[in-house]
Symmetry: C2
Subunit: 408 residues, 2 copies
């Protein structure tokens, strides 16, 4: 039997994969598992998008243009312009989710061995795409104690080598919910300009900013027009994760033409997903207002609730629909498994993502978990109560101390 | 401005891209362009698939399982079993088109610098995926004079080196329409077994075999169960190119688990496309009978017609919906451009794909073109007449001889 590739061996498995069998076993025991571990919102997709699919009159489900429907790209350019992002439809390639935009960008910009600096904790799959492109990810630690703010320029400078070719940010951030302000973005701009780096900006949570905070795009920064790649997606914006529609956007014409060759090779993005996404551009303003209000209330219930539990630290995120919490435990992997395997409270338990999967090296995330507030408020309330009781019970379970010690 | 990657520079542009502006100009002059250059069929998708989309009741367009709907995989396994391909749903990962299945397979099996033997002419995008994975493509010439039959084992053996890690076939073939029989597949099996190689078998045209020929899958070959990767797609089978649904299939559990990590990184295949594809499994038998009859008639009109033109050689393909023809010209790129730029016959002209794009090295395909018979019969008849007149005119146009010489 021929051997599999080194990349195949190095690719990370999903950080929560090993917990899934325990969640399934819990459900079989009749326990309701509250899923705070995934970024799949329960929010309805816009009716105008769903209806466009139901009323479509296609008889042949054809390939589209490799860059996506021109009409959709024009509509999307207008959306960006309304968000102070000055792009035309010719700067846009429609991709199969934000994932494909990241892959195109990494393949088009970086040679194997090139270094990409990413503030951590970061979205676990950045590692996976970097491995596919042969890129070396260089993590730059941000900390829970200042709400995962962007590290200062001096910290970036320490990591820059002759192989450094880019910086990747997620703003607002998955898993932290941190929102970078103008000063942080200007810091990034100065570094990018000084060292002539690519700046990849994953802004798929753009619409989810709270407490009056305004989202600033990396595309708004003057002086680095040729350096910025905007990665976008309708997955979270319209709760249409399954449409698999994203976008690769740059005003760098040479880079766009290069990414276009990758787009042509895979022929076209999904046709039905594009129909839904183009229609979603006409979702009423009230759609975002209602969704944002809902997420803000959920965040308050979850984060305020977590911070009333003794020993829990959870900065209040300004964006996205995640938070990272530090718990009074030694090993979040063990604790998350224990929650599913050994614990229930009034017939419920909680599934969370151990934060180790969001760090490049094990260690800093060992006491941390990521929680997604994608459940209705009553369930989030129950999740907080579950965690309160669970942490109290766990602290008083001598067997667990031993298991934790053994797993270290 | 930071430089783009070497991969980005090496990636091939679409082979027909430079002809597109000439086709657009011809249309603006009022000439009807008969598109024989693309593999986008005009055949209707199955009604049961279109209706499943129109009547879907999703309110949240969610991610699916990264391997695709379990129900769809189970249905697909039953489809394969009915085609004598012994696989279970646990051997299948649903992908975003056959393209993604190829990319997952290449990334999971091959290290940069590994060699992959592909009989040529071959589907141009195989090169693009190989570049993304860093693979060296080693072409093995097949010839128009024996209908692009599989070259004998001795020819494969000449190319095998310590870096050879796999063989890729397309059966029935794009661009040739050649269908490999049992003896050819057993030749491949013996080579694969002897040298412990991966065998990638792209069988997306499985349903399109003519003149009573039966399709044999590489998955049917005993003794190389751990070596074979089946690449499949609904794009051509159900004329649903825009659904972007394919499949990566192997009984090699380690390889499947590895490919699954690539699948998890990009989260899920398109949800709507899966709904359509699962429903399409219930297309009536008559759907394929009607489509096959239509394609067979089209093939006869096109290929028989071409062979009545003096100097044209076109083997009659036994599968798919393409043929490769050798024309009495010196340079197909120049001729194809001339057809769009300078020629019309009764208000029509023909757009074809110069075959150079399907060969690893320029040269052997210089007099050849690929034609797709994806147009209705009357238009194919007109295309043949256009070509007859065009070749006659072209031979008597002294300026063209000069232009051809200059381009060589």
């Amino acid at each position: 039997m021929p051997s599999i590739s080194q990349k195949g061996q190095t690719m990370p498995a999903s950080p929560i994969r090993k917990l899934v069998p325990f969640a399934e076993a819990a459900k079989k025991r009749g326990v309701e598992v509250l899923h705070l571990n995934i970024g799949q919102p329960d929010i309805h997709s816009p009716e105008v998008a769903l209806e466009a699919i139901r009323s479509n009159q296609l008889n042949v489900v054809e390939y589209s243009h490799s860059a996506g429907f021109e009409s959709y790209r024009k509509g999307l350019a207008a959306y960006y312009q309304a968000h102070r992002i000055p792009v035309s439809h010719e700067d846009i390639i429609i991709t199969t989710g934000g994932s494909e935009a990241l892959l195109f960008g990494m393949m088009a910009c970086f040679n194997p061995g090139d270094e990409l600096i990413i503030p951590e904790p970061f979205y676990a799959n950045y590692n996976a795409f970097a491995i596919q492109a042969g890129i070396t990810v260089v993590p730059l630690r941000s900390t829970i104690h200042d709400g995962f703010a962007l590290p200062p320029a001096t910290e970036f400078e320490k990591l820059i080598t002759p192989r450094t070719k880019g910086i990747l940010i997620c703003n607002p951030g998955n898993p932290t919910g941190a929102l970078y302000g103008r000063q942080e973005l200007e810091t990034l701009r100065d570094i990018v300009k000084k060292h002539d780096l690519f700046l990849f900006s994953d802004e798929v949570y753009r619409e989810f900013c709270y407490d009056g905070a305004q989202h600033i795009s990396a595309m708004e920064l003057p002086g680095i027009e040729q350096n910025v790649v905007l990665v976008d997606s309708v997955s979270k914006r319209y709760s249409m994760c399954g449409a698999r529609i994203g976008a690769f956007i740059t005003r760098n014409k040479e880079l766009l033409a290069t990414a276009m060759k990758f787009a042509q090779a895979r022929l076209s993005p999904p046709t039905y997903g594009q129909i839904a996404s183009e229609a979603a551009l006409h979702a009423p303003k009230s759609y975002f207002e209602e969704v944002n209000l809902e997420y803000r209330e959920r965040r308050n219930i979850l984060v305020d609730g977590l911070n009333t539990i003794p020993g829990v630290v959870c900065p209040k995120p300004k964006g996205a629909f995640y938070c990272v919490a530090e718990l009074p435990i030694d090993d979040a992997d063990v604790f998350c498994q224990w929650l599913l395997e050994k614990f229930e409270h009034q017939g419920h338990t909680v599934m969370m993502a151990p934060a180790t999967g969001f760090y490049a090296q094990p260690g800093p995330g060992k006491k941390q978990v990521r929680l997604a507030y994608v459940l209705e408020k009553a369930k989030l309330q129950m999740a907080v109560e579950c965690l309160r009781v669970a942490l109290d019970t766990y602290a008083r379970t001598p067997a667990m101390a031993g298991q934790e010690a053994a797993s270290r």
